[in-house]
Symmetry: C2
Subunit: 409 residues, 2 copies
């Protein structure tokens, strides 16, 4: 009798709204292909710490439980930010050999692909026949080779939906509203706010959108806000947490330049002079004060949209959910037909109706690299996103946003 | 032929997710009762500024448009934070007399009730037969005489839903997560986060809840977080923007004491003498740093939940929506049967299945007063909300939250 093949699945990096759909795709497909599937907690952390019971069999989870998990935010197996050293990658490979694992599925972003490529190259060097498959996810949508990544469509929908509501709230009481979105190095999440606009309604917001790919200049930014405000008495402004500015010929994150102005050198500090960046209101408060101090506008409000962008319970794109499930399923199919170590990639077709197919790239192609928002989506003269972005992103968010109106616009 | 009765409707204060359902209730019922209904922009602002076209007929809006507006966030007529002086109230009354308005419906919170009571008392003093009806709304749920207020159920649902997703995200990567909610003087919104907990799952968050009614003591707060963290390796903490602490024998908002310590915070005082809380990350950053500096925990993240609490497109309670519509309808019915100036109040019945009825209080009973979270919902020894709160609040959020699970808890 042929031995059952054995595989393991891990989750890494920041969770997305649909990361567990990929997990469900892997669990269910493994079951149907008679693969004994194991999981471990918090990515590579528990394997490295060699805790007891850190590896467990996922083959016999009832379908109803898998379905519930597939629709739950967060990483159901736990996640990790840990980047393993070469030595740690070697230890992981030996742990997999000991456990007779034939294939490792690791759901994650470009850091995860990097970890896998290190493990793969070590395994090859000792002729260990383990296949390493990167299953892509990231709300940032910044994996190269991919049209888009699972997790992005749902986060984009959340942001667009939130900003459409905010735009109505802002038109009720006027003034300036600023939202700071996730997306440190890539502007896709920030750009998604443009989907909040109501086609044909020229005064619907957001009115100013600034991504990390644009050169943030205070004067240009303020004069655009002032223009909108003098027309409408209000403005909705969306900026990325990673907006950057040219300092001494070098594009520098604004947050760093704020810290330098505050006199604290290289360390990341917040309102209180303490080290902090993520989950902090520093940038939002800075921009809010910039507007208050420079323009004659009294009502200025800023929100940092925060972690709900990647885990909000009630909003996900059903297109994103299906693709996230499918990418998990395809990873298992690929292993079964004898594929080599690879990163799964998403290939979209927008001629006629939208469809998505899957392909494979080498791990090193995707590892550690960042995809930026292409120039075609960005304006030169103003902080805004071109309408062509909507053609790209609308299919990814699935069902359209609720249509809304009021008596004011 | 009897002259058509004429009424006007305005919206005031912070919008809610369902404030336009009340407007729709007033518009549709006025139509069916043959009342000529007018609206004006931004509460009392446009009437006072005597702009042209600031008052317009709402009698002939198509039902399909009213339905779309009823489901839209924001105040469809525009809102205002303006608190009119006695003199301005007199001017408004004279403007209503000029326009032959028999009844003013003003949708708003306790400040709106106060404005109405001033107008009513002036109108009475000059024997102007105008009826002033306060139609309640507020996400804060802080109107006295009311079991709850339209707008609260939807905001409560948004917060509970958001925190249930956050709790899974937090369990994926561990560490401390802090959410700062709206609700400056009343803890109802903060308490709503307790509805995120999964019954029977003792380690589901939030694990620490602090409302303005509790005395915030750093040591007590930190030791509770440390206890949770040492058990679970993580904690989800929810605090109100208005948490307060005892300073020199006086309960003082923590944000005030931070701003005094900090020196560089820009303090904005609103029309009602309140320090601006929402739209700033100050409190969240302060608490985040307090935890980092006092406990040996590296991953601490804080979000200020922001304006989406009152205007998020995709989440509303269908119970709240219906009650908001009904309160508008009842206001018109009450005018038609010859009621006097009054504030509509919501009376709930929780014996057996939940139901809600409506009653009337005098404007001065509701005006300017604040309902606090009752002691029965609050613990003495720890920062948490009693389970009995769930009996109170669960019917208000309508359909239950999505049920979720993972492998970690």
């Amino acid at each position: 009798m042929k031995l059952k093949r054995r595989a393991m699945v891990l989750q890494g990096g920041g969770p997305t709204r649909v990361i567990n759909a990929s997990l469900a795709g892997i669990i269910k497909t493994s079951k149907s292909k008679n693969i004994q599937l194991f999981g471990s907690y918090h990515g590579i952390e528990c394997i490295l710490s060699q805790l007891q019971n850190s590896v467990f069999d996922l083959s016999n989870i009832p379908d109803s439980k898998i379905d519930e998990i597939s629709k739950s935010p967060g990483a159901a197996l736990g996640s990790t930010r840990k980047k393993p050293s070469k030595k740690e990658c070697q230890r992981i490979v030996h742990s997999l050999i000991e456990r007779k694992i034939d294939c490792l599925f690791y759901i994650g972003g470009n850091d995860t692909a990097l970890s896998l490529s290190l493990m793969d190259s070590y395994a090859k060097s000792i002729s260990a026949p383990i296949i390493f498959i990167h299953v892509p996810k990231t709300v940032d949508n910044d994996l190269i080779m991919n049209d888009h990544t699972p997790g992005y469509g749902s986060a984009a929908k959340y942001i667009a939906s939130l900003i459409r509501g905010i735009d109505l709230d802002n038109s009720s009481l006027n003034g300036i509203y600023i939202a700071v979105t996730m997306g440190r190095s890539s502007g896709y999440l920030t750009a998604a706010s443009s989907l909040a606009r109501i086609p044909g309604l020229s005064n619907s917001g957001p009115h100013v959108i600034c991504t990390p790919e644009m050169d943030f200049k205070e004067e240009k930014f303020l004069s655009q806000i002032e223009r909108v405000y003098s027309n409408l008495g209000r403005a909705v402004v969306v900026v990325s947490e990673g907006i950057s500015t040219m300092i001494n010929g070098k594009q520098t994150e604004l947050i760093n330049s704020i810290q330098q102005k505050n006199g604290n050198g290289q360390t990341e500090i917040d309102n209180f002079g303490n080290v902090q960046l993520s989950g902090s209101g520093l940038l939002a408060d800075y921009i809010s004060n910039l507007i208050k101090n420079s323009l004659d506008i009294s009502r200025v409000r800023a929100d940092t949209l925060g972690y709900s962008q990647r885990c909000f319970l009630d909003v996900y794109s059903e297109v994103d959910f299906k693709e996230a499930y499918d990418v998990g399923k395809r990873a298992v199919d690929y292993f079964v037909i004898g594929g080599h170590s690879a990163s799964l990639i998403l290939i979209a077709n927008r001629n006629g109706s939208y469809s998505c197919d899957f392909g494979f790239a080498s791990l090193t192609d995707v590892a550690g690299k960042v995809k930026k928002l292409p120039k075609e989506f960005i304006f030169e003269d103003i902080y805004d996103i071109d309408d062509s972005f909507s053609y790209y992103a609308t299919p990814l968010i699935g069902q359209p946003l609720l249509s809304v109106s009021n008596f004011l616009r």
